[in-house]
């Protein structure tokens, strides 16, 4: 089984509150925040590894191909994904600020046509643009079924049973491969992914795996090819363009520290007027 995992680099998501906007408002500036793999893509890669391995013995089958769009420097982030256990990478050269979901979906569709994976497993959204659209668009362009917001995946033969975390509860779908699945954060819970190979007694940690030194060494030798979007026949320009960025208005006033419940209640009544 071959799984394609699109991976986007984002500015350190745990410091998203340190993002700035350039003086002319035309650009978002991440300053010296380090790049990281988009967390939801990392979860997708972890899920891909769990689908293709025996979690108890560590034995792996199939192939995991990662694909990234971006400037040459995204290869650094791609190597991290290779160190985590992906087998090879495809780098599509692009100026990240000139992309939108439709361009990304078309680029991924071209990669899908060439690579013919059984499954595309990706994050539900990238935590920079927060759009949550590329996976769905790719599925429609490919004419494939999809399951978004996946919190559990069970693989049986050619079929995935996917639990989707939706607003009203859990919606369960059965999809026959090939398909697109976008994952939410609970996909990394201990028993969220089952493949019929890993013994039911095996408990993964409720998180992605750590990158080992051995993994980092191995990643250096893994194949990583670089192409332009034109090479794969994608010439479309972004249809969504940003004219301006701004930081949200600061919350009014400072935090008022209170020591007692009665003081809080009084403030909520007389000052905030919400009680």
């Amino acid at each position: 089984m071959k799984i394609l995992v699109p991976v986007k680099r984002v500015a350190d998501p745990n410091n998203a509150n340190k993002m700035k906007v350039s003086a002319d408002g035309k650009q978002v500036v991440s300053g010296d925040l380090p790049w990281a793999i988009n967390p939801f893509d990392e979860y997708a890669l972890e899920a891909a590894l769990r689908l293709l391995e025996n979690g108890a013995s560590g034995e792996r089958s199939g192939e995991i191909v990662i694909v990234s769009l971006g400037v040459d420097d995204v290869q650094t982030t791609m190597r991290q994904a290779l160190a985590m256990g992906a087998d090879r990478g495809i780098h599509l050269k692009a100026d990240e600020s000139a992309l939108d979901s439709l361009v990304v979906a078309k680029a991924l569709k071209a990669v899908v046509d060439a690579e013919k994976p059984d499954l595309v497993l990706m994050g539900k959204q990238a935590v920079d643009g927060d759009s949550n659209t590329a996976g769905q668009m790719l599925a429609e362009l490919a004419g494939w079924p999809m399951a978004t917001f996946a919190m559990s995946i069970g693989l049986e033969g050619n079929t995935l049973t996917v639990g989707r975390e939706v607003d009203t509860g859990v919606l369960t779908l059965k999809v026959t491969l090939p398909a697109v699945v976008t994952v939410d954060l609970r996909i990394v819970q201990s028993k969220a992914v089952t493949n019929g190979v890993t013994p039911a007694s095996h408990a993964y940690p409720d998180d992605i795996r750590h990158i080992s030194v051995k993994g980092i060494m191995a990643a250096k030798k893994k194949p990583l090819e670089s192409k332009s979007l034109a090479d794969i026949g994608v010439t479309q320009a972004a249809t969504v363009t940003y004219s301006k960025f701004e930081l949200p208005a600061a919350r009014t006033g400072n935090t008022r520290y209170v020591e007692s419940v009665s003081e809080l209640v009084k403030l909520l009544q007389t000052q905030a007027k919400v009680l």
Binding site: A16, G129, N132, T133, E140, T168, D184, T239, E259, V265
Partner: protein, 326 residues
């Protein structure tokens, strides 16, 4: 002049109230550009939904009755065909998990650009400019879309539900397209959580608990009385959901619901960036936490530095007194 098609969200044969946020958006665009808006009720129970939608001032209410559970693969072709044949300028839905699942598929069929989870729209100069949160709500971007049709999902907490405008719009059944990649997908089940409390996404008060509550039992015995004293919806942090204290659908944040109530009370929640992304639009934020350095302080208006197990029952009693209950 821009005509808008709103895709309504149905659940168990009824209109979901969150649809009214997308209707409010559509009204704004129609009024700002001199256009009209229609609403499409698609799925099971469209007749009842059409009746609920009748008084909101739409030009037409369109119904596409499709049996079986919701599948984006099944609904997208009908929505896209309609958008094409009737030349809408915008196709919109509320940015629930339903809208976010369905509309990008529609966009791909239409080769259209998407602005998702928008917080605002401007019609100045006849150009639609969308304002949307990015970077977990730490940056807002203003964008335009160059394709003939725009696909837009609307953040519920940023668009007050549309109000009835008095008229009565009759409904019209539209053709259901049978295209679409439906042969390899099957709806198995929807296990929905039921609650007597207000819905998280449109409650005027939300009381949320974090890991510091320590158990499901404590959520029940300590937090719930406060939730009910306020007549609030109950929310939770990721950590509390992951620990199994409460069901996942109560999670507030980047995963989970985005809320912006009049009052948000965060009990024992430290305030990870992913949680703040889901609640910092609230009008008044109260934090109850024994650690005054917790990151929730960056958004809290009032911060009660206290042991929650002492403070919450006391606050519950006070709120009951003020609100004239218990």
């Amino acid at each position: 002049m821009t005509d808008v098609l709103v895709v309504a969200e149905l659940l168990e044969g009824q209109l979901r109230r969150n649809t009214l946020s997308a209707v409010a958006f559509a009204k704004k665009v129609a009024e700002g550009t001199g256009g009209s808006f229609d609403v499409l009720a698609i799925g099971e129970g469209t007749e009842a939904a059409a009746a609920s939608l009748a008084p909101f001032g739409a030009r037409s209410i369109l119904t596409a009755e499709i049996e079986g559970g919701y599948l984006a693969e099944k609904y997208a072709p009908t929505v896209a065909e309609l958008a094409k044949s009737r030349s809408y300028g915008v196709v919109a839905a509320t940015a629930s998990t339903y809208g976010k699942d369905l509309l990008p598929r529609v966009a791909a069929r239409l080769d259209a650009g998407v602005a998702s989870d928008i917080a605002g729209v401007s019609t100045e100069g006849g150009t639609l400019t969308y304002r949307r949160p990015m970077y977990a709500g730490n940056v807002y971007g203003h964008c335009t879309i160059s394709t003939d049709v725009h696909v837009v999902t609307v953040r519920q907490s940023e668009f007050e539900p549309a109000e009835e405008s008095g008229g009565f719009t009759s409904s019209e059944a539209v053709e259901v397209s049978s295209e679409g990649a439906t042969d390899r997908i099957e709806f198995v089940s929807l296990v929905a959580q039921k609650s007597e409390r207000p819905e998280l996404s449109d409650a005027s008060v939300v009381v949320s608990g974090g890991r510091a509550l320590k158990s499901a039992e404590n959520f029940h015995t300590v937090l719930e009385p406060l939730v009910d004293a306020f007549g609030a919806a109950m929310g939770a942090s990721r950590a509390a959901c992951d620990a199994g204290y409460v069901p996942n659908d109560l999670q507030v944040g980047q995963t989970g619901k985005v809320v912006a109530p009049k009052l948000y009370v965060a009990v024992g929640i430290s305030g990870a960036i992913q949680h703040l992304a889901g609640m910092k639009g609230s009008k008044v934020i109260v934090a109850i936490n024994n650690n005054k350095e917790a990151p929730i302080a960056s958004v809290a208006d009032y911060f009660l530095v206290a042991d929650l197990f002492k403070a919450v029952p006391e606050l519950t009693a006070e709120v009951n007194k003020v609100r004239g209950a218990g």
